[in-house]
Amino acid sequence: MTFKEKIESGKFIICGEICPPKSCDGDILREKSKYFKGVVDAVNITDNQTALVRLSSLASAKILLEEGVEPIMQMTCRDRNRIAIQSDLLGAAALGIQNLLCLTGDHQKFGDQPEAKGVFDLDSIQLLATVAKMNSGFLLSEQEMKKVPDFLIGAAANPFAEPLEMRLIRLHKKVKAGARFIQTQPVFDMDLFAHWMEKVVEMGLHEKCAILAGVMPVKSVKALYHMKKEVPGVKINDEYIRRLENASDPKEEGKNVAVEMIRTLRTIHGVRGIHLMPVMWESITPVIVQEAGLGTI
């Protein structure tokens, strides 16, 4: 079953995430793909995350496809104008990549080359609409394509940034533009997430797209401090920080918290799946999936 069919079937979805290496070593990806094969439904491939140069998401997605893992290619608007985006999308379709996550992208200021020119020709919503248009057989220039791609399009959402209503309006626009699944920012505060989810259900958006809640297992409390201080739009519950501070084995505790979180998230109405995103800790994914009782696929 492909990821698309799983989304349509209503099955509980598990997504992983791989960050491509900062070199041309494709074997690192092949090595990492072993953690995901047969464990998750699809794996996100980040596109130059936080504006750092990495192996391209298009090439990485192809490598994963060869390894038998279904990729979700991320596509950001920071580095490409509309011509490059459409060209890359056609390339992805030709290589057999079917899942896309459309993002605006982090600002180049956060990377190691802040002097770069940010493109931002489109924003994420316009990118979603562009892909939807390509799915219907046309390029942005109204030119008809002989062979039509068939992408499953997804988008991101941040349930924790203020103001809540603006976030919901934006989510509504994304679904209207063609998003079929939504991956949220990592949940570190369950109450806030539950409140957001309630509103999403109220608007009826959970029926039009599959909401996949982000879960980020952390290795140490330092990572949490960093997230709280440096990463904008992330809210972390104090109790979570305290638990990791007091733990004798923070790695073990980080894993336990993630497992507990997944169990709670499954009970929230409207949550259709989990998006696991351990940063540079891919090996933990199968352990968490097993311990959370999600089983193998």
């Binding site: 931002f120 924003d123 203020e162 603006m166 009826g204």
Partner: protein, 152 residues
């Protein structure tokens, strides 16, 4: 399903029009820049952003804030600034224009950069601004219930 979300470049801008456009830009410099923070994109969406120019956003987003709005609405790129979209939301709420935020704004036509918006409205390259919004809450409800109907 219609996919009309790219601002058309037609009719093309003639040299004569460009001269006239510059004259109108002087007016924009005097009025729109100090009042709305206009950035001369030539494709004015002020009426859907509660009269705060969204083009001051470092990512020049036209459809709402990115995910990086910090505590108290700070911009992620310049933490000393307020997120433009944060201000737009509260102004929209204050002016009862929230229904305007649901509008999908079109992909920017860079040919129009630095031309006068009013001229582009007159030439029908872009839509006319909507100054008055009546029954905002009702409109939001209609937008949301429309979707439910379409689903059935």
């Amino acid at each position: 399903m219609s996919f009309d979300f790219v601002t058309s470049g037609k009719p093309p801008i003639s040299p004569r029009e460009k001269k006239f456009s510059r004259l109108l830009l002087l007016f924009e410099d005097l009025v729109k820049v100090p009042i709305f923070g206009c950035q001369h994109c030539g494709e004015c969406i002020l009426s859907s952003t509660a009269f705060i120019c969204s083009q001051r956003c470092p990512k020049r987003l036209r459809n709402g804030p990115c995910g990086g709005t910090g505590e108290g609405g700070t911009c992620e790129v310049y933490p000393d600034r307020k997120c433009v979209w944060y201000r737009i939301y509260y102004r929209s709420k204050f002016l009862n224009r929230l229904s305007m935020l649901y509008k999908l704004n079109k992909i920017h036509n860079w040919n129009l950069e630095g031309t006068a918006s009013w001229l582009n409205v007159f030439k029908k390259r872009i839509g006319a601004p909507i100054f008055f919004v009546r029954g905002d809450k009702q409109k939001v409800k209609e937008i949301l219930s429309d979707d439910i109907q379409r689903k059935n």
